[in-house]
Symmetry: C2
């Protein structure tokens, strides 16, 4: 890996030869002005190469475009004075997530490999006049030999229709699939196949998110995921968020439409998993699935009317295993879906799956589990107890309700650094394309950057006397021009407004007040937190220090923070490969104490106190130094 | 009831005023010649009224037609000399079943009223922000109050789709239907209705016979049958007997057609039960059903290929409860069908239901349970043990394979008496219509009558030197003319041939050898039998002494014989109203030791010895005096 040294700061970093020098600078904490996000059009990111070899684009006035230039050897680069970084910025490296976030260890090997559905090869003695027991009795006897607890399983009636053929086709060798009870010690015979098919034993684990649906194909012989696919949740056409979808569901057959859409999506994803991996759908033994409470209701075709309004009552939070074909799934008839249980209307199966997926239920450490989205869900606890709550953070962190907010796709501004003297931005977009808008991590990056650079005050208002034209009055009050129209893909200025900032502060305030209220409810404080685990892909893009700077995360030692990716999918996968995990999921869902924050007066107090950057109580954020 | 005295025999009998004097004579054991079966056309049944008043038809030559004449007061009748009965006949009264058969006590009150599905009225506390448990959790809490064992029931997923509406519609009053496990102590929530519907709690019990399907509507609040209907099994169009239907099932979608036909029939019968009783199908809580093993397979759409041929292996003998709509039943979705278990290919659920229905499993007396049909099924045992067997008796007793055999419908000859001197018959038909053929009881009656009158020898061959034109050579060897063509409804002589008799002797021989073999297998003899219970409607028409005379039933004291009607339906009904009975059915099906007679050399020996009237070993039939 080439080593890049930036002068005059004299900061070095090793990077992948595929990475351009603008990204290298961002990682190293070196500010280089850049407006176009790395698209090679603003020509602001000029650097000079002093030693070593590079390839890329030069500028007519001399030097290279950092965003279009790649190292061939170790390189020493000088950043010209117009972009030179000052010491103050260096004190706090930017975009240091690789160092500060610790990826939670989530290898499947930490779960006991014991799927809810197990396959056994049995050999039956041939019937005779002296032993003319029915095919089923004959089979049960052999099952009893292999697995004495299962000698008298419940039998799915569809098994019987192919039973005579299945046991005779391979000379009385057959493979039986037994499903164990998740709550009781009972067994259910769900499938009989001719011959030995024990090696064909797959599961699909699914996370149904409001926006994205992700699915993994899992080999139940090893517990390993062999393929993963994802797609947008097609229900998006009927509403961006759960509230608007529940409104749609109320109208006529709306809820059926939403059910059909998600089922179609699951069928498509399972088809993709099979075709990509070259495995057959017939090898599927089970599906396990998690999602938020609303998604679980839509999936099962349940009425969400009473979930929608006070007191927010779900139809059910624990769901029986359901035959997949009964929901319209295009899978073999023996396949059951195991649905991770929910806790309450806004603390869903995705959270329960996440908590168990990352193993909070197996550790003594006091852990705060956070899922930031439209609704921020919070779980506090350890192996002995858990408390949970949801706070309506609003969609700001997903780019919703922001003038130029967008999802994290190509052209979204994902990282911004603001020069503390010139107030000029250094911008990276996803895919290095011209910017179309700002996604979640970019928004937090912008808010934190503007605040740290002294462009914003603690109330989130712009200082209006700064020596920069980027801060100006606009349609929604004052705003900061992130990129001028000519360098964007949308032919208009991309701006960040005081209204946007107000939304963001409310969102982060709701989250923080949530942590505070939960901790306080159990007589604890932030100092007692031994781990903070951030769920969702958000964590992988979010700069930890920036998130603390704006008061979205508590200011505690950085080595207590972990990010865990899609923990809902992780828990669904754990459930697919492990009956003990499935049982734990139900136990955990039952043990979680749900706090309704909306009716909690302490929450309102904490919320109001949190509507500052980082917080009205500066003592809560000792490491955020405002100079 | 008018008292009728027949002279010169000086025999009296009380009869219903709706009964004609020919039937009265048959009951009293008085022979009156009659050829037309009571249709009033042969004019042979002339009697003279000496005292009392009658109404009816007189004959031109004087006297009354006995078959068309009814008593108005007590009556003394003289039978003219041409029909005078002799003392020999009087020694053994004819058609005395009312005296000799004892109807088994089968009142439902002897079964614990505890249906597999129970209804409970619950009242839920309204949800609030402080208690926002899901509708299902809320319901489970209340269920736990009513029935602590059921606090955590399994939940049918279809329950959830109407749950929010159901609990809210009647101000949080709801009726839950809980189904108990037949094998395990588990509960399943299958239905939630708004308000109090505990009074609407019905079951349908069904016997699916090869020929006839019978169904009862049962009020589960009282255990009483409130309506009963029956119809021919529409599968008859695809084969009269189980063998030909199994042949049909093999071809293409044959088995599906047979399944559809029986389901259509059940739907129709349930519709009739509801419309006749004015009850709603929505009040149905469960269906319980029995039938022979082949019928059970057809009902479930199971492959009968291996049931058809050696070693006669059923797919299953114990069937899981199955959702009725999954079989295409037109009933509410919460309705499960409980299928009585079978023992083996030819000892089906109808037999298990019968054995439990008449309570053999609750009595210490050694009991022989007999079901005579195409396949004669036999169970021997008591509360501690049971052995069972099937013997292919053939369809002779149902009129099958007989020149003029027919089912027991209008116009079938049901009782015959043969005058021991003149060899003239006295005939009654069902409905008093002109004869079309001879049904089962008529066939036995004919065989016994001809044998006792000295028309047949012990091998079942006609004596050819008798002074009667009724015995004559015919197409199939020698035959007896029961009715001449001009008095029948079919414009041809109705005859009873030596070929018919051979079939009958084989059939009764198979049954008798069956009893003998089973008894012998357990080291017992006929003298040990404390009860003989005859299943089926056959028993209500069959003359006990005649059946013993031909060797169809063992010659033991007559007060040990009982007939029990449709015991399969009886057991299905017992199962519908009583979970303990349902559990007993499974226990009994498992405890029965099945003997395969076809491969048993002792059976062959006994069979050959039984091909005589009544038997080669005269000592087995001490009360049958051949003079």
């Amino acid at each position: 890996m080439p080593n890049i040294t930036f002068l005059p700061a004299n900061v070095s970093i090793e990077i992948d030869p595929d990475e351009n020098l603008l990204r290298a600078a961002m990682k190293a904490g070196v500010h280089i002005n850049s407006s176009c996000g790395g698209a090679g059009v603003c020509n602001k990111c000029r650097i000079f190469v002093e030693q070593g070899e590079v390839k890329g684009e030069t500028l007519p006035e001399g030097g290279w475009k950092a965003c279009q230039t790649f190292p061939v050897s170790d390189v020493v680069v000088r950043v010209p004075v117009e972009s030179e970084v000052d010491r103050k910025v260096l004190r706090r490296p930017m975009a240091q997530k690789a160092a500060s976030w610790i990826k939670v260890h989530t290898k499947s090997t930490s779960w006991e490999l014991h799927p809810v559905v197990q396959k056994y090869l049995v050999h039956l003695p041939k019937p005779s006049l002296q032993d003319s027991a029915s095919d089923l009795e004959r089979l049960k006897r052999e099952i009893g030999q292999k697995r004495p607890q299962a000698i008298s399983p419940e039998v799915d009636s569809h098994v019987l229709s192919t039973l005579p053929e299945s046991v005779r086709k391979r000379d009385w060798d057959a493979t039986v699939s037994l499903m164990e009870g998740t709550e009781r010690d009972i067994h259910r015979l769900i499938r009989v196949e001719p011959g030995d098919s024990t090696s064909q034993h797959l599961a699909v684990a699914v996370d149904v998110g409001t926006t994205t649906v992700s699915a993994q194909l899992i080999d139940l012989k090893t517990g390993e995921a062999i393929e993963e696919v994802s797609d947008y949740n097609p229900q998006i056409s009927y509403g961006e968020d759960v509230i608007s979808r529940m409104e749609f569901a109320k109208k006529g057959d709306g809820f059926k439409t939403l059910q059909e859409k998600i089922i179609e999506c699951l069928n498509r994803l399972i088809g993709e998993l099979c075709s990509k991996s070259g495995r057959k759908k017939e090898a599927l033994s089970l599906i396990s699935l998690a999602g938020n409470t609303v998604m679980m209701h839509f999936l099962l075709g349940l009425d969400t009317r009473f979930l929608r309004s006070n007191p927010y009552t779900p139809v059910a939070t624990q769901f029986p295993p359901v035959r997949a074909i009964d929901l319209g799934m295009d899978v073999p008839e023996h396949v059951y879906m195991f649905l991770v249980p929910c806790v309450a209307s806004y603390v869903g199966a995705d959270i329960v799956a996440g908590v168990v997926g990352v193993g909070i239920n197996h550790h003594p450490e006091l852990t705060l589990f956070i899922d930031i989205g439209t609704n921020g869900e919070i779980v506090l606890g350890n192996q002995d107890w858990m408390a949970c709550a949801a706070c309506s953070a609003g969609p700001a962190f997903e780019g919703g309700g922001m003038r130029h907010g967008m999802r994290a796709t190509t052209g979204a501004i994902e990282v911004v650094h603001i020069h503390p003297v010139t107030f000029e931005p250094m911008i990276l977009t996803i895919g290095g394309k011209k910017a179309k808008g700002i996604c979640g991590s970019g928004i937090i990056s912008l808010l934190a950057g503007l605040f740290m650079a002294g462009v914003l005050d603690q109330r989130g208002k712009f200082y209006k006397d700064l020596d920069t034209e980027r801060v100006r009055p606009g349609r929604d009050g004052w705003e900061y021009v992130v990129i001028g129209a000519k360098s964007t893909a949308i032919a208009q200025d991309i701006v960040f407004t005081e209204a946007d900032i107000e939304n963001l502060i409310r969102a982060k305030g709701a989250m923080f007040a949530g942590y505070f209220t939960l901790l306080e409810s159990v007589g604890m404080g932030f100092e007692d937190l031994e781990r903070v685990i951030l769920a969702g892909n958000f964590g992988s893009y979010l700069d930890l220090d920036q998130a603390i700077t704006i008061g979205l995360l508590p200011d505690i030692p950085r080595d207590r923070f972990f990010f865990a990716g899609n923990t809902s999918l992780l828990g669904a996968r754990a459930s697919a490969i492990s009956l003990p995990v499935t049982r734990e999921l139900h136990k955990v869902a039952k043990m979680m104490t749900h706090f309704d924050l909306s009716s909690n007066p302490r929450f309102m107090d904490h919320y109001v106190s949190s509507l500052f950057l980082p917080h009205t109580d500066q003592n809560l954020f000792p490491s955020v130094r405002l100079e």
